[in-house]
Subunit: 874 residues, 2 copies
């Protein structure tokens, strides 16, 4: 084995990010650029992978290589590890390919021990500095490597300060710090059973192992899952010679951005502390100074830093986020990376860099994370007002945006109060399909139960309405009209505010500001549209949704769920009458009542979409979803329909299913009750004819048959559709065309797509159901055990959020290939929730789909993700 | 288009069954053999397919060809269609590839009309015969072609007989029959609006269409579904010159078998009627004579018939079922085909033909329908006793065999009464997992609700216990200890008898006789075993099942469902304690109670299987299945476990799932609770060590992890298994091996089988779940809508009974190919209910599986089906 696991900074470069991690690659790059970087070496990500392969052991080969490079580092720095006369102290820092909060960050001053500390004191002539460095090291090492919480040590410090009667750490002198080191070491031994390690080599190996371990801690796993980072990547470890910002008033440390990360303004932005180590800046013990003040305090260092930061931005062609330390008047660069920024800043930086001629539009389009755009599409709290507010609870950030309104506890109340012009926030234990109308008129939705894929969360995201779900600590007393949270009682009608992007709940009114889709946003999205080849449509069930989708740039509707139209108060009665019918004739009578309502909706939706195609999915859910389950509701329904309570109960019980997800739904309903498909076809076509007659607009309805598993199902239902549609069209004086296609959401449909494609104009992948069937778990139930899967690293991402390429993706690919093999003109799209997920959109580009369809508020995300996919996938 | 749609009998032969249907091919073959066959032609099955393709129209090309062949037929017979002077009358009969009850059978005397009838009278000098033929034709044509029920005409005949004061049809004279024809034609016109068709060409075309139509009537569709006959085959139509068995005392008609179809005895068997047409034999108006009597009445004809029947049996090398007519002393053969026979006869005929040197063992093995064997494996009613019994109800024939015992209404009663030596029949509304013990001790099970795949039906078939399910008309008063059926009250303790092969229920005691597995059966099965290449194992969960399976010839257990062991009264308590545990420690305590019970079961099963492999599936169902749902049961459980009722209710509600089939089950349980897998591994391995120590027997446990969808799930659970097992083995003084494999029952597992196979010793296809997930419908719910699918010809067979080769089969094939590509030693089997279905077994042979596993009572069926598959699939 001649694999190389360790690289000097001078051996690497900026392109070696996969091997050296982001931090290591950039340290190497800065070294090559001749910038002042304290030297050291990087242990590769492959060493981390090897560590896990070897059962969480660092093997002898790697240990040997680390020792070898430590010697090279000693030669470069002219210092020696563990040598009191000329000690080399190092920092140890993790560094993955992508910056990953949640992993072990930094151990400073490693290499110090009871002997070395004396040497440091002698060499620097600063005994206080030496012991301060030592106690910091003990503290960090114990916390990060040995999991002995830092808090324990803070308590010892507090005790000592109290005993001495001082307030600030800086008031402790060298003797105090010597005493502190003694106490720290004793605490260490009392708790861990061993002496604090004195051998610098042991310190180093333990620290390296701790970095490797931290790759798989819960927070890191969670972060990776949220950000689609594979666990196989591993992290590198950077071992770097220490420089000290805490050597006195000609020393210091700081962080800076080449542009303002909040606004994107092209102006050096940052802060620093004199006589401090990096952790002090983060800890906020003292208030740092703005970077501009450095110009006064150390003008030469400042000029040098400005020059370096300019060079770095031009070199990386992106805004940089840098860390530096000044040791006795000398500047050292400790890190540079592309800076994280707000969505608004991201757009401004991208546009400015193009205007400055630094990058082209393609590079600009790649520069913004599509998911960031979401923040720009929803109302946000006024930042000034928000600063003063304190959240009283934190639930799941289920649907982004900010909302402020008066508390209501039922959908009915919401409708009533909204009708009077009040802004309302709907607060419920959990929501159900019957709440749709109330959810629609609410500014925001707060639920006590339910996760990211609960009814409230899914529907709210679809509507673009702010939602905080699963706020477990709230106690709702709906009957009595109040709730309790954080010890406070909030009555119906009181104002509360929700932040759907953070999950924060405020028991006060906080003003919001509207989103703007023009300026940088508009310009940037135009570039994305020029580049992308995938079409982007929206999932929209109502004219309101359709309007929203159109304004966000959707070129059509990829999924209009007709059943959502049936839950409205004035419609569900006819729907229930239809379901409880005992004969086809009764069913037809009830359907005749629904026809004009559906037709009206379709007309309005066609008009909103102004000629773009509208894909209408026929009735999909099992019929029991439309029936009440509550005793009182059943009684009142029986009254309305003038049938016996027993009849209604019998129907409810007859329609009960053990596994409704796999029950009598989708095209199976049309097979059993062809008259439903007939009515829906009539509504689709009559609406089109009516709009064409009234406006002259092109109308392109696409009728989509759900849950097809066998071509014969499609043949049966399609015949009903075509017979009905062609007769209506022939009877009108209008020329119009329509298409009939299928959802591909059953594994068998994908496996037999060549048969199905012979009789279909289009396929739309229903990746939600396809994921359920392919994995064999239902989205409603999987939440309970998927947490175990994440924590045990069995799953790395939520397959309902990101298409599983190996399994679900394999079926999609099969369906695309089989389908196109018999029908080259077959139109292919996706309309599951994955349609708005960038990773999934990339996969859609890879397998050659024609379009993606997602909820209206995800349309801009999809447009950008599609552009990035077009660039990245050749 | 030069496709030929019509063949003279002389143009065809016996190999053309696919094109000419069975009847047509055999008529051609007999013609070629020079046997006396009334000549005619066959319209092909392709013409039938064309008829459906043309939207249920016979196109002009085919009409032309029929006319052309009618002329040829006239030339051959020397008679003319519609010519009163020399009339050609024909029979029209359907004839599919496989004999298919439920389709239109026969129209006789076609070609007769008001004019021709007179010619017939003149030619035969028998006016009564002529008008009798005419009235019969009107009756059959109206019934079969025009769907004007035959009953209407019978009423007219009855009226006329009453009016004339006679009892028997034969007492009506020629004038009466003339009058009858007038009345029949009037009735026809009154009801259908048109005159009875006089043009023989029109009569013929309508009859041909009626045959084609009958291919798709409900009964034919049902029969095809039950017998795996594709709807694409279509039926042929045979048009044959009439010969008349009703021309007087030197005429007659009959049917005969070359051997006794009930016993297989090698002796001509059949019956005939003098002066009759075929329908009279069937109608049973007169009692036919045994065929041996023909020897006395017409010795020459008899000798000729015996000689022909010998020739036919030797020619077809199988028992023949023949129809013949004697017209004025001349013998005509109307049909021959391989005769249907009882299971016992089938075995005897096969063995005898081998002994007679007529066929070899391979041909013998192909001669018996595997499904027939079932009847031989279960107790049957004493045939003599059965003759006197009258059923009081008929439910679904859910699990075969006969049972007689005393009525009990609960599983507890069943257990108690059986313990005293009483034979019991369990009568329930429906059964649930908690009834298992009671079902086990019962002779038979009768339920009011539930179909062929209800809990009662599935479990009973698995146990080999007779079951009649879904007997809707029964009224059960469990509390009061009686039921009512057919107006009778039956108390608990009364005797009833069930026939699980017919669904009949008798309110009396009928003695049963036991099955015998020796003699012809044993000899025949040995031949099958010599030929087959697929292994046959059994699904068996208990030592009793294992013993049964072993006696039926299972070479191992392919599926031992460990959860079934947990439902016993003494175990479910510990199981529930485990489920309600709040900590891992509590769970381990409860599991420790289950360990010795499981271990004991495994020891007994290993011993029963005597060295054959035993595949043990780890806990599979969602945990809520083990908890009570009834309020009282919850209260008593809380009492037993000394926890609060609220705690139990909370646990039940916490474990509730929307779609349990896709919930927290299978390996997902082991991921969440590794200690369950640990306990089960301990039981499997300790049991093996104990049996090896005690008996020296080889024990080959195969641990099967259910519901794998991703290789990482397998890796996680397998590590627990291997760590646990290897430690126990190392601590023992025993050398033993074990295997770890997976179910392939989730589509994703099949799609990623190459990954999974890397870490698996075997795959066992769980085709029940795989079918559910691939089609996206649950077996519990699909029953409701699948009826619509059958009646609309969307599905032709039940995918839960017969593997869907296009979809589910495609996934299986993928899994086999991917799995073997990385692991050539991978052992492959199937353990869904399909493992006992001949068509599915054939598919398993096609894709190269190593074994099938099925319920014990299906083992002989599987052995035979596997042999047939080995012969048929090259």
């Amino acid at each position: 084995m001649s694999q190389k696991f360790v690289y000097l900074f001078s051996e690497g470069n900026g392109t070696m990010r996969n091997l050296l991690g982001g931090k290591g690659a950039n340290l190497a790059e800065m070294t090559n650029l001749g910038m002042p970087v304290p030297q050291g070496f990087t242990i590769t990500t492959e060493a981390c992978a090897q560590y896990y392969e070897d059962g969480e052991q660092i093997n002898n080969e790697i240990i040997g290589e680390i020792h070898e490079y430590l010697i090279k580092m000693e030669e470069i720095t002219g210092k020696k590890f563990g040598d009191a006369a000329n000690p080399l102290l190092v920092s140890v820092r993790s560094g993955a390919r992508a910056s990953m909060p949640g992993m072990m960050d930094t151990i400073l001053n490693l290499g110090i021990n009871d002997v070395v500390v004396e040497g440091v004191a002698t060499l620097t002539g600063n005994e206080r500095f030496a012991y301060d460095s030592y106690r910091r090291f003990i503290q960090m090492f114990s916390d990060v490597v040995m999991e002995l919480s830092k808090k324990n040590f803070e308590e010892i410090i507090d005790e000592m300060k109290e005993h001495k009667g001082v307030v600030d750490d800086t008031e402790l002198d060298a003797d105090d710090l010597k005493e502190m080191v003694v106490r720290f070491k004793k605490f260490y031994k009392d708790n861990l059973g061993n002496d604090f390690p004195q051998n610098p080599q042991d310190q180093l190996m333990e620290a390296v192992k701790a970095v490797f371990r931290s790759w798989n801690n819960d927070r890191a796993i969670f972060y990776r899952r949220m950000n689609d980072i594979p666990s196989s990547w591993g992290t590198a470890v950077n071992v770097q010679a220490m420089v000290f910002g805490n050597m006195g008033d000609s020393s210091g440390t700081g962080v800076a951005f080449t542009r303002d990360p909040a606004t994107g303004e092209n102006k050096l932005y940052g802060e620093f502390l004199i006589n401090a180590q990096g952790e002090d800046v983060v800890a906020g013990v003292r208030t740092p100074l703005p970077i501009s003040r450095l110009q006064e305090i150390m003008p030469e260092v400042y000029e040098q830093f400005v020059s370096i930061s300019d060079r770095l931005e031009k070199h990386y062609k992106d805004m940089q986020d840098m860390e530096f330390t000044i040791e006795n008047g000398k500047l050292y660069m400790l890190q540079t990376r592309n800076g994280k920024r707000t969505a608004a800043a991201a757009l401004k930086v991208a546009c400015d860099l193009v205007d400055e001629g630094m990058i082209d539009k393609t590079a600009a389009v790649l520069m913004v994370d599509p998911k960031q755009l979401d923040a720009l599409l929803h109302p946000q709290f006024d930042p000034d007002a928000l600063k003063a507010a304190v959240p009283s609870g934190n639930g799941l950030a289920a649907s982004p945006g900010a909302a402020c309104g008066r508390v209501v506890f039922t959908a009915d109340q919401a409708v009533k109060m909204a009708a009077t012009g009040d802004k309302v926030v709907l607060v419920r234990l959990e929501t159900s399909p019957e709440d749709i109308e109330g959810m629609h008129v609410s500014e925001g939705i707060l639920t006590a139960r339910g996760g990211m894929t609960s009814h409230a969360a899914v529907v709210a995201r679809g509507m673009g309405t702010c939602c905080v779900s699963g706020l477990g600590e709230i106690r709702i007393y709906e009957q009595d009209g109040y709730f309790e949270l954080a010890g406070k009682r909030v009555n119906g009608g009181d104002y509360i505010s929700l932040d759907g992007s953070t999950g924060n709940v405020y028991l006060e009114s906080i003003p919001t500001i509207e989103a703007s889709l023009t300026g940088d946003f508009g310009r940037f999205m135009e570039w994305a549209d020029e580049i992308r080849t995938l079409g982007v449509r929206a999932n929209a069930d109502t004219p309101t949704d359709a309007r929203q989708a159109f304004s966000f740039g959707a070129a059509g509707i990829g999924l209009c769920r007709t059943e959502h139209m049936f839950f409205d108060t004035d419609r569900i009665a006819a729907m229930r009458e239809m379901i409880l019918s005992k004969t086809e004739q009764q069913r037809r009578t009830a359907l005749a009542k629904l026809l004009p309502m559906q037709q009206g909706d379709f007309e309005a939706i066609y008009e909103e979409m102004n000629g773009f195609p509208v894909t209408i999915r026929f009735l999909d859910p099992p019929l029991h979803e439309f029936l009440p389950s509550d005793e009182n509701d059943i009684i009142s329904l029986a009254g309305e329909l003038k049938v016996s309570v027993e009849d209604v109960k019998a129907a409810v019980s007859e329609l009960h299913e053990f596994n409704p997800m796999m029950g009598h739904r989708g095209c199976r309903l049309a097979v059993s009750y062809p008259e439903i498909a007939e009515m829906q076809t009539t509504a689709v076509i009559q609406a089109a004819i009516s709009v064409i007659k009234r406006t002259g607009m092109t109308v392109s309805p696409e009728i989509m048959i759900p849950l097809i598993g066998d071509v014969k199902e499609l043949n049966y239902v399609k015949k009903i559709v075509v017979d009905t549609a062609d007769k209506i069209i022939a009877d009108s004086s209008i020329e119009m065309s329509y298409q009939v296609g299928t959802m591909i959401e059953i594994p068998r449909a994908a496996l037999t797509a060549d048969e199905i494609a012979k009789n279909a104009d289009f396929f739309s992948f229903g990746t939600n159901d396809l994921t359920q069937m392919t994995f064999g778990f239902s989205r409603d139930d999987a939440g309970k055990f998927l947490e175990d899967y994440y924590s045990k690293s069995i799953f790395e991402s939520d397959p309902f959020a990101r298409i599983d390429r190996e399994g679900v993706g394999a079926l999609m690919k099969t369906a695309v290939e089989l389908g196109r093999s018999v029908n080259p003109k077959l139109k292919l799209g996706v309309c599951g929730e994955h349609g708005g997920d960038p990773s999934s959109i990339e996969f859609c580009q890879m397998i050659g789909l024609d379009y993606v369809s997602c909820s209206p508020f995800r349309v801009p995300i999809a447009r950008l993700a599609a552009a990035q996919a077009a660039i990245n996938i050749k």
